[in-house]
Amino acid sequence: MREAEKSMAEPQSKPDPDPKTEATVTGLDLFGYVGIESVLDQMRRKAVKTGFEFNIMVVGQSGLGKSTLVNTLFKSKVSRKSCSPSFEEGISKTVNLQSVSHVIEEKGVKMKLTVIDTPGFGDQINNLNCWEPIMKYINEQYEKYLKEEININRKRKIPDTRVHCCIYFVPPTGHCLRPLDLEFMKRLGKVVSVVPVIAKSDTLTLDERQRFKERIRQDLWTNGIKVYPQKEYDEDTEDRILNDKIREKIPFAVVGTDKEHQVNGKNVLGRKTKWGVIEVENVAHCEFANLRDLLIRSHLQDLKDVTHNIHYETYRVRRLNESNLNGIGLSTPLASVNGTAVRKESESNL
């Protein structure tokens, strides 16, 4: 019985094993086919029916190719491209966040993708505190989720608008991170999973790219900035090996485009210049494919889990402590500290 429960829970996320029962679990060999593995199919079908949600935020100065990259990642026009010919707006004076949601479907699996764009970030002469609107937005989403969660009559599926991933675009100067980059990543690395990428990297030769990456990694390390995937959250050796490989390569040097050209008889996504065609999906040219694999094919669920289990929990603990200290309750069930709070914690660990 216990074993069946355990294997059912594994594919979803790894809850802490109940300390009382762990000692009594023994491995049993089955001497015939039972059909336990069909539970995976059942879960799959359920997941396909409910669909997935993913919220991604793109931050960077204007013109670094944020919208193009998101469109290339999800192979559809999910983001308003700001360099369309009809675009006549100038650089906005403050950072305003615009979020656009689309439902994209692949092989019957539906995903509600929300892209949060941040035009105006880092474009002014004086960029002090330009990260504040972004921090406010992220915390507001956590607050919304928290309010839903501690509601007495709460919805079966809480709408998840929390930012699961924040892609930060570093301009390809080739030297090192700028003060603005450091400030931003320092602050935001504490509340959301930050994935730095080198934008428009077709301007760097391979040597320059390598040196730039090493410089960035060094800068991040000296300043104590933790970017995704963080070392502390690796759960077992398998994860660690996989994530180490990724950590050696971040930040990914990407190139984005939505135009196709003919190369050797095939149609490839690329940028055509007089000296050659830069193939976006060719790993020898740029690391777009690595970024896509990380974000979508291998770590999408992990990003959501890290957001839910770590960042959201940190926020929640902080808010609950605050409300207990100040006495301004979020809602009445929170009045007693130990009793109901503990119950709520175990319930939300699903």
């Binding site: 004086n126 301009p171 090192c176 410089r215 020898a284």
Partner: protein, 355 residues
């Protein structure tokens, strides 16, 4: 007046009737200038990482920055804009050029770049001030011309046009120095993107009323080739350039370029970028840049300064007040010395009469 026989070149010109010979003057000027050498001060302004140093090295085929120390990100937070001037003497076919490159590291790096161009404007003004002081002095033989003749402003190719910082800076210095806008790291743009960006930048410059350096039209008596070249140059502003001093082998030849996995970008290929155009413009119009600096920017500065004595701004203030006093003192001295000379001359005329 027979000048034809005087300074060399005797016998080269036919003794035709009515031929005076001062058509020889340009040759004399040419020889004198070659002997004297040229001075040129070029300022490069732009955010870090746009390839300014690489471009300067490529333009003049030297290594102006042999041991570059690029500070880490944390150090950059503390830094303010500095002015670094490095001078080299380049010689080509007997013509000497004393080139000063003024670099502005730290420009646009800080989170708050509000004050970053004050330092630069002060530097330009100081050079004008110094020249004004030398020009008004007594010994005007060895005036060193450190005024900034040309400013290459590097525009980032990653944006959609000019940034607010670019606009503010150019508006602040377009009345003091010749601005030549340059689109840096142009290998990041496809041809269409490049054209779009150039048009966008020119539109924004016109909209904001920024006066950049205008190439003078070719005179009507120049040959067609030169006229065509000037037309092409004028149409290509702002220049989209790539810099590199690395030699790469392409089709058996060694050329300067950048090697990517998808191809080689050649620096001196006019189809790849405007590097050659920029170099041509700089070289053929060096004289014109100096003239415009002298006739337009310097004269503006001078008339402003002399109109309001003692009311100048910044660090130049005390100098300004002293300047006029010194000017008057020196004029008084001059008058005294001239009187003395007259007296001495009168004495000398009298002396032989005595003897």
């Amino acid at each position: 007046m027979s000048q034809s026989g005087e300074k060399g070149k005797v016998g080269e010109f036919p003794e035709a009737a009515g031929y005076v010979g001062f058509a020889n003057l340009p040759n004399q000027v040419h020889r004198k200038s070659v002997k004297k050498g040229f001075e040129f001060t070029l300022m490069v302004v732009g955010e870090s990482g746009l390839g300014k140093s690489t471009l300067i090295n490529s333009l003049f085929l030297t290594d102006l920055y042999p041991e570059r120390y690029i500070p880490g990100a944390a150090e950059k937070i503390e830094r303010t804009v500095q002015i670094e001037a490095s001078t080299v003497e380049i010689e080509e076919r007997g013509v000497k050029l004393r080139l000063t490159v003024v670099d502005t590291p730290g420009y646009g790096d800080a989170i708050n770049s509000q004050d970053c161009f004050k330092t630069i404007i002060q530097y330009i003004d100081n050079q004008f001030e110094r020249y004004l002081h030398d020009e008004s002095g007594l010994n005007r033989r060895h005036i060193v011309d450190n005024r900034v003749h040309c400013c290459f402003y590097f525009i980032s190719p990653f944006g959609h046009g000019l940034k607010p910082l670019d606009v503010e800076f150019m508006k602040a210095i377009h009345s003091k120095v010749n601005i030549v806008p340059v689109i840096a790291k142009a290998d990041t743009l496809t041809l269409k993107e490049r054209d779009r960006l150039k048009r966008r930048i020119l539109d924004e410059i016109a909209q904001q009323g920024i006066r950049i350096y205008q190439l003078p039209d070719a005179d009507s008596d120049e040959d067609e080739e030169f006229k065509e070249q000037t037309r092409v140059l004028k149409a290509s502003i702002p220049f989209a350039v790539i810099g590199s001093n690395q030699l790469i082998e392409v089709k058996g030849k060694k050329i300067r370029g950048r090697l990517y996995p998808w191809g080689v970008v050649e620096v001196e290929n006019p189809e790849h970028n405007d590097f050659l155009k920029l170099r041509t413009m700089l070289v053929t119009h060096m004289q014109d840049l100096q003239e415009v600096t002298q006739d337009l920017h310097y004269e503006n500065f001078r008339s402003e300064r002399l109109k309001r004595p003692g009311r100048s701004t910044g660090a130049v203030e005390e100098e300004g007040v002293d300047k006029d006093r010194i000017l008057m003192q020196k004029e008084a001295e001059l008058r005294r010395m001239q009187e003395m000379i007259y007296q001495m001359q009168a004495q000398m005329r009298m002396k032989p009469a005595d003897e």
